[in-house]
C-alpha cells in the first residue's frame, strides 16, 4: 500500500543517467512534461514512448520498480479514465440509457491515462536516479537567477530537500506503527471505505505526532549548528557541467525539436 509509493525514492546504480548533472535531469523532466502535453496523435506518442524507453534502459533501474509508482495513483487514473469516457462530446459510439460513450471520449480517456502515467514515470526516472541532495542542489543552482527578484531560492530548495528526505523516513515509520497496531489486532485491509478510514486513526495519529516531533528535532538541530539560510554558504561539491551533460542537453533539445515539429506539421 503506502510502501509501494516509489515517487521520491532513490535507486542506487551506476548508469549514465545517474551520473548526469541534476540540472540536466531537471531540465529533461521539464521538457518531457511539456512534450507530454504537446502530443495529440499517435506519432507523437510513439516518439515519446521511444524517448522514455531509452531513458529507462539507460538508467538501469528495473522497469518493474517504476511501474510500482503508478500503483499509488491508480485511483486517480481510473477516475480520469471513467470521467473522460462518460462526459465527452462527439460522435456516439455506444449508448446504454443515459450512458453515452463517444469516440472522442475513448481517445480522451486513453490519452489522459497515458499522459498521467508518463508524467509519473518520467519524473520517477529523475528522482530514482538522483539523490535528494543532488536534486535540490541542482534546483538551487538552476534557479539561482530568481534570487534577484527576491525569490528565496535557497530556502525553497532546503524545504524541498527536507520534504524529499522525509518521505522514506515517514514511510518506514508508517510501516513500524502499522506493524505495532497489527500486533494489537488492528485491521487495515477489510471493511468498507468508512470503516477503513476509521481504522486508519490508530495509524495516522501516531504518525502525525512522530512527524511533528521529527520536524521540531530537526529545526532544533539546524539551529544548534547555526543554520541561517543560503547567504554566503559554500558547497563541498559544487556542480560543474561535464562533457556528458552537454551531450545530454543536445539530446534533450533534439527531442523537444522533434516534438514541436511534429506538433506543427501534423
Amino acid at each position: 500500500m503506502l510502501r509501494d509509493i516509489t515517487i521520491g525514492q532513490y535507486y542506487p546504480e551506476k548508469s549514465v543517467i545517474h551520473s548526469l548533472d541534476p540540472r540536466v535531469k531537471l531540465a529533461g523532466a521539464l521538457i518531457f512534461i511539456v512534450s507530454v502535453f504537446l502530443f495529440e496523435n499517435i506519432i507523437g506518442f510513439l516518439v515519446m514512448t521511444a524517448f522514455l524507453a531509452m531513458c529507462i534502459k539507460l538508467s538501469k533501474v528495473p522497469f518493474k520498480y517504476m511501474v510500482k509508482g503508478l500503483k499509488a495513483i491508480l485511483v486517480i487514473l481510473i477516475l480520469t479514465a471513467v470521467l473522460n469516457l462518460l462526459w465527452s462530446p462527439g460522435e456516439t459510439l455506444v449508448q446504454f440509457s443515459f450512458i453515452r460513450i463517444t469516440k472522442q471520449g475513448v481517445y480522451n480517456s486513453l490519452y489522459m491515462v497515458i499522459r498521467l502515467s508518463y508524467l509519473v514515470i518520467g519524473t520517477s526516472i529523475m528522482t530514482l536516479t538522483t539523490t535528494p541532495t543532488r536534486l535540490t542542489d541542482g534546483m538551487e543552482k538552476g534557479l539561482h537567477f530568481l534570487n534577484r527578484c527576491k525569490v528565496p531560492v535557497h530556502e525553497i530548495a532546503m524545504m524541498m530537500s527536507i520534504a524529499l528526505r522525509f518521505i522514506p523516513i515517514l514511510m518506514e515509520e508508517t510501516d513500524k506503527i502499522m506493524k505495532a497496531q497489527m500486533a494489537r489486532g488492528a485491521d487495515f485491509e477489510s471493511g468498507n471505505i468508512f470503516q477503513k478510514a476509521k481504522n486508519m486513526i490508530p495509524l495516522l495519529v501516531p504518525l502525525f505526532v512522530a512527524a511533528w516531533r521529527r520536524a521540531s528535532d530537526l529545526a532544533m538541530a539546524m539551529e544548534a549548528r547555526c543554520y541561517h539560510g543560503g547567504e554566503g554558504r559554500t558547497k563541498m561539491k559544487p556542480l560543474k557541467y561535464q562533457q556528458m551533460d552537454k551531450k545530454a542537453y543536445g539530446v534533450l533539445f533534439f527531442y523537444l525539436l522533434v516534438m514541436i515539429v511534429l506538433k506543427v506539421i501534423l
Binding site: 535507486y11 542506487p12 546504480e13 528495473p62 518493474k64 520498480y65 515509520e173 513500524k176 506503527i177 506493524k179 505495532a180 497496531q181 497489527m182 500486533a183 494489537r184 489486532g185 488492528a186 485491521d187 486513526i201 490508530p202 495519529v205 501516531p206 505526532v209 512522530a210
Partner: protein, 282 residues
C-alpha cells in the same frame, strides 16, 4: 503450547539490487514459561526474527508453527496468533493514539472482539500489572513521561492476554530505575502468570540477571543458544561479534589472573559478591 521456527530464512528487498539476507536458517523452539533473551549486534536480524513469531513477516522459506500448526497454511487466522503472541516493538510509546490511557489499552482487547465492559476489565488488570497509578488512567497518553508511556504501551499488548510476550528492547533510552522497573515487572509476569517472555536486549547485564535461556544472533543466524552462564563463557567469541560478557565477568577473570580463587562463571553482581566473599574467607 510451543512456538517452533523451522529453517526460517528471510530476505529484504527481493527483486531489487538491495537484497539483504536478514535471517539465515534459524531453527528454534520456544516452550511454555521460558524467559528468553535474544542479544546481537545492530543489524544481526533480531527484530526481523521476532516479527516472524506472530506472523507479521512471512518467511521467504521455512515454517513457523504454533502448537504444531503451520501459521501460514491459510486456514490459521493470523489475528488469532497475534492474540496469543504479543509483540511490543522498540519505542512502543510511539504507537499510542487514543485520548486517554485507558482507551488506548482497550484497543487490543476490543480488536479481539470483546465488549466494552469486558475490554475495560482486562485493561484494568493490565494497567495494574504494569503498576500504572489509577490517577493516570484518564489522562492523555501524550502527557505522560517517557517511561510511563512505555509501561502503558506494554499494558496495551498485555491486555490482550497473550501466552507469549515478545519485547524489542523495552528498556532502550530509559534511566536505570525505569529499566529495573520494567524488567522486574516482566519477570513477575513470567513467574506468576506463566507468560513466556522473549526479551531482545543490548544490555548483557540485564539478560544475565533475568533470563534463563540466551540466544545470540550474529549476521542473521543463531550463534549460541544456551543458558546465560554457558553463553558468557564464550566471551572471547562474543567480542568478535561486537558483543561482550557482563562487566562483572571480566572483573572475575582479572581477579583470577591476580591469583584469587574466584568463580569466573559469575555473571551477575550478586554471584560475584558471593564468590569473592568466599574467596576472602578461605
Amino acid at each position: 503450547m510451543s512456538l517452533i521456527l523451522n529453517e526460517v530464512n528471510y530476505y529484504y528487498g527481493k527483486g531489487t539490487n538491495l537484497v539483504s539476507h536478514a535471517v539465515k536458517d534459524v531453527t528454534l523452539t520456544i516452550e511454555d514459561g521460558e524467559f528468553i533473551g535474544i542479544i546481537g549486534h545492530t543489524g544481526s536480524g533480531k527484530s526481523t526474527l521476532i516479527q516472524h513469531m506472530n506472523g507479521l513477516l512471512k518467511p521467504t522459506s521455512g515454517g513457523v508453527y504454533y502448537n504444531g500448526r503451520d501459521v501460514h497454511d491459510g486456514s490459521f487466522k493470523l489475528k488469532e496468533l497475534r492474540s496469543h503472541v504479543g509483540i511490543v516493538f522498540q519505542y512502543p510509546e510511539y504507537q499510542l493514539f487514543e485520548a486517554t490511557v485507558f482507551d488506548d489499552v482497550c484497543f487490543g482487547p476490543k480488536n479481539q472482539g470483546l465488549k466494552d465492559n469486558e475490554a475495560g476489565l482486562v485493561a484494568f488488570e493490565a494497567l495494574r500489572d504494569m503498576h500504572i497509578p489509577p490517577e493516570m488512567y484518564y489522562q492523555s497518553p501524550f502527557e505522560l513521561s517517557g517511561g510511563q508511556k512505555r509501561l502503558v504501551a506494554i499494558a496495551g499488548v498485555l491486555a490482550m492476554k497473550p501466552d507469549m510476550l515478545i519485547l524489542d528492547e523495552p528498556t532502550a533510552g530509559l534511566d536505570p530505575r525505569g529499566r529495573k522497573e520494567i524488567l522486574n515487572l516482566l519477570s513477575r509476569l513470567n513467574r506468576e502468570k506463566h507468560i513466556t517472555v522473549v526479551l531482545v536486549s543490548h544490555s548483557m547485564e540485564d539478560v544475565a540477571e533475568y533470563v534463563n535461556r540466551l540466544i545470540v544472533m550474529d549476521k542473521g543466524s543463531i550463534a549460541f543458544d544456551a543458558t546465560p552462564k554457558e553463553v558468557f563463557a564464550h566471551y572471547k567469541e562474543l567480542e568478535t561479534m561486537g558483543l561482550a560478557a557482563p562487566k562483572v565477568t571480566y572483573f572475575m577473570h582479572q581477579l583470577k589472573e591476580k591469583g584469587w580463587q574466584v568463580d569466573t562463571s559469575a555473571i551477575t553482581v550478586e554471584e560475584a559478591k558471593k564468590s569473592i566473599l568466599a574467596a576472602i574467607r578461605r
